[in-house]
Symmetry: C2
Subunit: 439 residues, 2 copies
């Protein structure tokens, strides 16, 4: 199966940031076979199984969402402005009403939302990850799926830290899947016993898989480690010997200079969730300092109740404006650098930069066409600026994951969105009733 | 001509913030004739000239963009991350390449973008405002159009402060237009001689029209007034006796406590342009303090080279996240309050709250239907939160201005977007050539 995409403005995001203003791409099976200027194309169009005219589009690498919770679509628009929403609304609702079926339908819907927004790879942390892996497999997205471990009984386990048992079964089952990487996700340093964190890390070590954790996100988390151990969350995790390049640290809002050095030394990657961090008034992470130390940083939407939409266009814009303002310098975090965080730098956080994150021959065919015919996309003197400052998710026209067309002309190819929604809505009856009691 | 809109979730934004979860609206000619719960509708559907089924929509008052520059579409994506872009790129390009024809086509395109984003009223500050009034009239939007006055020759005048002469002809010509209010717009306190500011204010006084100005936006503006007059820009303007309720002050980023008191005493309204202010790293205005003093505050996109897109959804999200983070409190600026700034509070800034800004019987029929069938709009526990945190411009389905349907099913009714674009592109040849030399 060979597909030609022609006449697109291609941003490869390779090391040289090569662009082709009138470019072509050839997809063979699941990989990129050729990429270049259209005038260099040798083969005849009739030799391809499919030809897509990319006129008035920008072709980009599939975007990488480094942190989300796909089971949480039901929580969207619920208590957004409520103080301590996590303990007042989210945890109680999850324990009372989250089921395997609800997580499954939420997962499929969330993946649809990401595909429609040009996200081809995501990192999830939630419960029922075996079920969410099934949803991901059906939706044909690329993902790292981390089963949550936390020090209280949850919707998918009756015992504290029961996620470890769950993960022990879940991980080997999905280990050799082409698109899915199973993982383990201790919720946060302060919501797990140190022994449980070490146990989770040992499991990740055994299988060579990612360890995902919320780190240095909460004020009370910082206070807890200062008082109890006279250290920081990062310092504490280092003392447990669980930091390494497979560790994906979400948030990292409150870091000391020493914390930054530790992240660098241990090779930890960071999932920066600016929308969630700032909507909840938690603060702005020291991303410029991280980038100067060559710590890999990607962008994350966080869950749909925190970042609200599962698209990185919103996050890119917020990243630009927050860091420019915090640093009092409009020239820092130029659009090209922010777009890199949404693509190739995100791939580095996931240790997948050899496969995804840029459009290069031999890499997986995770490709997005963003149309420039909509009103917000003219004129374009700088395509990176157009993507970061002007585009929104609705400009995504075509999406390929691993060579498979999942979005064509802004519609899901293999799924019907209104079916996904009505299936989810049907599962939400109890949840919605309980939710309305809480708010 | 009578139109019925039915089955919509209506957010009236009246004083009580009345909502109708299954509501109807009747438009007669240019006004709202009835509004209420659908089960209270007396007339038969066959009695209407047109019936719009608002199923899966939220009906809201047309949004009000309190500050923009509609002639500046050609500048979009040009030097976004460039320090001192105003003097290095914008001013030189404007003087060299901005023509009446270019402003006209840019204006029409910009108005189309706003209509498609649910903005029914805007406040403009630019050159060639007589031509832009013609564009606004053709596009059937509601607007306050302010001719710029500045202390150097510009694209539409050969002399410093020539905008005053221009305005003297422009204002009486459009004074009795149903949708257009002409105005005068001294560029900033530090870019005009004090005498010119007073002259502009006298002209505004004579006709009872708005005076629009960028105020307290730039660091060097603050320094200038501190050094030369030992005061602030606001203090200086008060000393000139030009502040009053017809004054629309854009930006107001850097205000002292005394400045806030002056704004309150003089009844000045503020156009808050969070996107432009933070992308350019200028800072976050003290909006919470303004609201506590009951100073009217609306939202503005600023020009398409500063705020990039001419929609208020982007601005609402940025407003929420920036103010919550600056004040370290996720509960401040709840979605409902931010949505009010985009509608009824914006109308107050313009002294037009008796006509627009809320859906009430007798007010002008400026109405927007936002669809909730797209992937980002489910579930909705709080429609205000859905509008502020989840929606984007592409969710706007129908727009009525003064009773006229200008957008239907996400398409312009009376114009063809690709024609508007190709007309603008055709006028941009010289501009684009010069622009590429500057960046």
């Amino acid at each position: 199966m060979k597909t030609l995409i022609k006449n697109s403005h291609i941003l490869t995001m390779d090391d040289k940031r090569t662009e082709y203003s009138d470019g072509y791409l050839i997809i063979e099976d699941n990989a990129i076979l050729e990429i270049g200027s259209y005038d260099q194309l040798v083969q005849k169009e009739t030799e391809f199984d499919k030809v897509i005219d990319g006129d008035q589009t920008i072709a980009i690498p599939g975007m990488i969402n480094t942190h989300t919770h796909i089971g949480m679509i039901p929580f969207r628009s619920l208590g957004d402005d409520c103080p301590d929403r996590l303990r007042r609304i989210l945890f109680p609702l999850e324990i009372a009403c989250m089921t395997k079926e609800l997580a499954y339908h939420s997962g499929k819907y969330a993946i649809a939302e990401m595909q429609l927004a040009g996200i081809t790879t995501f990192v999830d942390m939630y419960y029922f990850e075996d079920t969410l892996a099934q949803a991901t497999d059906e939706m044909k997205s690329r993902a790292i799926l981390g089963e949550t471990v936390v020090d209280f009984p949850t919707c998918d386990t009756l015992i504290a830290h029961g996620g470890i048992d769950y993960a022990e079964k879940f991980i080997p089952k999905w280990l050799n899947h082409e698109l899915i990487t199973p993982a383990i996700a201790p919720h946060a340093p302060n919501t797990n016993d140190p022994e449980a964190i070490k146990e989770a890390a040992a499991l990740a070590e055994k299988y060579g898989i990612p360890l995902i954790m919320h780190v240095a996100e909460m004020d009370y988390e910082l206070n807890y480690f200062r008082k109890k151990y006279n250290t920081t969350p990062i310092g504490f995790l280092q003392s447990l010997k669980v930091l390494n390049p497979r560790f994906i640290a979400a948030h990292c809002i409150h870091l000391s200079d020493q914390d930054l050095q530790i992240l660098k030394e241990e090779g930890v990657g960071v999932a920066h969730c600016i929308g969630a961090n700032t909507k909840s008034a938690k603060g702005v992470a020291r991303i410029k300092d991280m980038l100067e130390l060559a710590i890999p940083v990607g962008l994350g939407t966080d869950g749909p109740s925190s970042g609200n939409t599962l698209d990185l266009f919103t996050q890119m814009k917020l990243t630009a404006n927050f860091h420019k303002t915090t640093l009092h310098d409009r020239s820092v975090f130029p659009a090209k650098e922010i777009f890199a965080m949404a693509t190739i730098e995100g791939a580095k956080v996931l240790n997948m930069a050899n496969q995804i994150g840029s459009l290069e021959v031999g890499k997986r065919a995770d490709i997005v066409l963003v149309e420039t015919s909509s009103v917000n996309m003219f004129p374009i003197f700088d395509p990176y600026a157009a993507l970061v400052y002007s585009a929104n998710a609705s400009n995504v026209q075509d999406v390929f994951i691993n060579g498979t067309s999942v979005v064509r002309n802004k519609q899901l190819v293999n799924n019907n969105l209104s079916d996904l929604r009505s299936n989810l809505a049907a599962e939400m009856t109890d949840f919605s009733k309980k939710a309305r009691e809480l708010i």
